[in-house]
Symmetry: none
């Protein structure tokens, strides 16, 4: 059986950005676009050129991608030509190979929200799409409120879709803009649209999660014949979010009847990137990843029930619908049992530490990790801190130096020119061998602006480490993430620091404390210690 091509259209950078509290920087947009491209989506909707400075900046230097880069906009307004609509011009001027325009398809919205005639709206659709085609672009039409519109006035909704297709649109996308349509209705209406003569391989589906059915609605449309799905990473999007492309990709690639029916742009070897991609977005948004997310959640393959856990050890298919490794995720079974220990051994080997299968210290390390995770630590990303914890328990961690004390001060006051300025200063006292070393630092960037207490502390700590100084000179702090998390009953601060050295190595460390400075200092210390261990500094 030949598999039909099914297209994935990502709108994380546009509709995803409609989420309350989400505002990507241009650099973040580029980073996300690259990761989407590596995964293998077919279209990347980068934003609305002209709508805001970030989107305009992104399109001024669009990253080159295998995926079709797409600019979003709206159909021209009534009373002017497509050529003379400056909102549309900003969109086409972005120069992307594809352009997606949203337009009305619900009579009520044409008359109430736009206040124009039904014919004027048809003309706006037709002329705008024709204009894109004349400019040599691939044109897509997002038919806003299509399902509500179809229920109210099926003839008019279909006329809007036809106007776009007849003008040369590659795709007409049926949008459930308000997210209120349920799966059977999406399936039925999509089938009726196809029966009315609009080919399924030119139909897309765009759903929202307002009834928690965005994924099911997308699948229902595909089962009815639509061949493009629009969605976002982790279901980001306005209100309750858009269809979650991460869940959809898992299902479309791994579950029948879809896996046998369709060919996707997401290749076999790209699928295990799914979990990392999902977490990348959360990292950028500084959000706690949803542990219970389908396929990619940290708990998606966690088996707490005793009966399930023991069956899993006999045969994972007893309680798992897919193999966690297929999407780059992993199984979690209760820490205390045998499987937990073999997982741990595997991680230790990855860090270059060999431990016997029956070493009693494995259980102790597991207990340690569990205790610390209860306090708010997280070793999923902070691989370097995990390694130090294990080394400490195994007696493989030298005492390089001891921090006797530190003090950091932040002061805000008027300077000589009567302007308010902020100054940070840090003092660190360490003991190396028998010797005490004291360093002081303030932290400024090139323009003389204060960079805050954590930077001052990092600079002071790295300023004079005596015999170890040469080992850390090429280290730099490249990322710093702060999260307030619950440790037991109290809120604590978790700091994760990413460091890099001149060899291009990058490592993450974690610190936890009610005090953000303390948490940061702990992560800084781990970062330095890991570097000393890895480079074989003498104790």
């Amino acid at each position: 059986m030949t598999r039909e091509r099914l297209y994935l259209y990502d709108t994380t950078l546009r509709d995803g950005q409609q989420t309350q509290g989400v505002q990507f920087s241009t650099a973040e947009k580029v980073q996300i676009a690259r990761a989407l491209d590596e995964l293998g989506v077919d279209y990347i909707e980068g934003g609305w050129p002209g709508a805001n400075p970030t989107d305009s900046e992104f399109f001024a230097e669009t990253p080159s991608t295998r995926a079709t880069m797409t600019a979003f906009g709206m159909t021209k307004r009534a009373g002017r030509s497509a050529e003379n609509d400056e909102v549309l011009a900003a969109v086409t001027n972005a120069g992307t190979p594809a352009v997606c325009l949203v337009g009305k398809s619900h009579d009520f919205h044409v008359e109430t929200a736009l206040g124009i005639t039904l014919d004027e709206n048809l003309e706006n659709i037709e002329r705008s799409i024709a204009h894109l085609v004349a400019e040599g672009r691939e044109a897509l039409f997002d038919a806003e409120h299509f399902f509500d519109g179809y229920k109210a006035n099926p003839g008019y909704a279909l006329a809007c879709a036809r106007a776009a297709l007849d003008a040369g649109a590659r795709w007409v996308v049926l949008c459930d803009t308000n997210g209120g349509t349920l799966p059977s209705e999406v399936g039925r209406i999509t089938a009726e649209v196809i029966a009315a003569g609009i080919p399924g391989d030119r139909l897309g589906i765009h759903t929202h999660n307002d009834t928690e059915n965005a994924v099911a609605n997308s699948l229902a449309a595909v089962e009815a014949g639509a061949r493009q799905i629009q969605g976002t990473l982790n279901g980001l999007g306005e209100r309750c979010g858009n269809a979650n492309l991460v869940s959809l990709i898992g299902t479309l690639r791994l579950k029948e009847p879809f896996a046998s029916m369709f060919e996707l742009g997401v290749a076999d070897d790209a699928l295990p990137r799914l979990t990392r991609l999902s977490r990348l977005l959360d990292d950028i948004l500084n959000r706690v990843p949803n542990k219970h997310a389908a396929y990619v959640g940290a708990s998606a393959f966690a088996h707490k029930a005793g009966l399930h856990a023991s069956a899993i050890l006999k045969d994972p298919t007893t309680y798992e619908h897919v193999d966690p490794a297929s999407v780059g995720n992993s199984r979690i079974v209760p820490m205390s049992n045998q499987a937990g220990q073999s997982n741990l051994r595997k991680r230790l080997v990855e860090a270059g530490i060999e431990v016997d299968r029956d070493d009693k210290r494995l259980a102790r390390i597991l207990d340690d990790i569990k205790d610390r995770e209860d306090q708010g630590y997280s070793y999923d990303t902070a691989q370097a801190s995990f390694e130090l914890l294990a080394r400490r328990a195994l007696g493989l961690l030298p005492d390089f130096f001891e921090v006797k004390r530190y003090r950091v001060t932040v002061e805000r006051r008027k300077n000589k020119r009567n302007r308010m300025v902020t100054l940070s200063e840090a003092v660190v006292v360490v003991k190396i061998g028998g010797e005490k070393m004291m360093s002081v630092s303030e932290s400024m960037d090139e323009s003389g602006n204060d960079q805050g207490p954590i930077n001052a502390l990092a600079t002071a700590l790295a300023k004079d480490l005596g015999p170890y100084q040469s080992y850390i000179d090429d280290m730099r702090l490249v990322d710093f993430k702060v999260r307030i998390t619950a440790g037991g009953t109290e809120a604590v601060t978790r700091v994760i620091i990413d460091s890099e050295d001149s060899a291009g190595r990058r490592w993450s460390t974690v610190g936890v404390s009610p005090n953000i400075v303390d948490a940061s200092f702990e992560a800084l210390l781990d970062a330095i210690t890991w570097k000393l261990v890895r480079d074989g500094a003498p104790a």
Copy 2:
């Protein structure tokens, strides 16, 4: 048209408790059971008597409910009678009016996991259910792995269901235990089961969210004829969770065809309790509620896109599929750089500030917001800071006081008992009228543990504000979120602070700076200033 009865079965207290990290106390179980009963679910599954101390304790003093209290257990084991199975005895001894027993219906599991014959399993089902019926209980049978079992061996899966029904079970519940079945398949198999002679009004559906389709799967089974839905509050449950009863109740009560087809135990006047009930569970679990949850999320009716926001102002049905008030939720029209002037005016009106439609200052405020959002500010959530920004631009913000300087110190060193401890101290100098006030504070919790520099600063700032002191005495800082907004060397820190007062008001403020202390201080100042404005403090 007579509406058919559709039954809701809540398993938050049993299957919900299988979630990683969830362990209800007995008191919490009672609290949740009461709230579920007020909402109007038909069955409350309280736990597995005998499986753990909490569940046994809960059943020792089960709260009296209108809903049918149900104990959960498993069918008797092979080689002993139902009367002599002590695991089953613990369940029946709980004395609940209904008992739900899980048993196998997938031949592979019978032979692999249980290691017994297919006939022995049928006998276990039949004898266990007959035993419950003989004891005068309402009996339910959870057919584990039913869908996978049906696909592998339909005859045997059906025989298991029939064995339970013939023995007198009120309900046979088709369980998608591994969560891997997709909606069309659930619909098709449920229809086939009914066609095979098992009445729909004795069929229940129990789904999991491993493909993000648990809600859709439940709806598909109901459309095919099943008349009981099992689920949990907020979709709590092992791995990716169970079907979310909150979303299902919203849809079943408010959306067609369900609203006209079915009668639920959830009464008209109970539906607006839905949002509060959902948040109650998060409160008990000490979790941050999912803002994007269908129907009940804080952002479920938040309209960020400028085009949407202006249409919403004309007619809410343009971008809302149901009225937020119907489920006890409310609409949010947040500020963002994508919002237009009408959105801005609407926000100002909500803050008690009337501005003419053609006031030139509206455009200036929008520019201001855009500029500041480019610097890293975010006014979507920080409504109070937005309000202050607007008031300042409109000349409506009194100068209550001026901060002349502050200093905060964090010191880590050994205490008298030779233990490393951390101390934070803050000094704040403000000028009120002509008078200078200087306050100093350190920040400790009840156990004498340092709470960090931000807390110290907040305490010092709120310690002596002279004539304004009485206005802020009842304020407290309830949440504190930190985000690094741009990577690399230009990283800035964004701090969002949530404050609360004794009137139960809650407001959010934002601060941005390369220095986390500075950013926090800015947000703190806004929090206090907003309170002074709202309470009408004299300038």
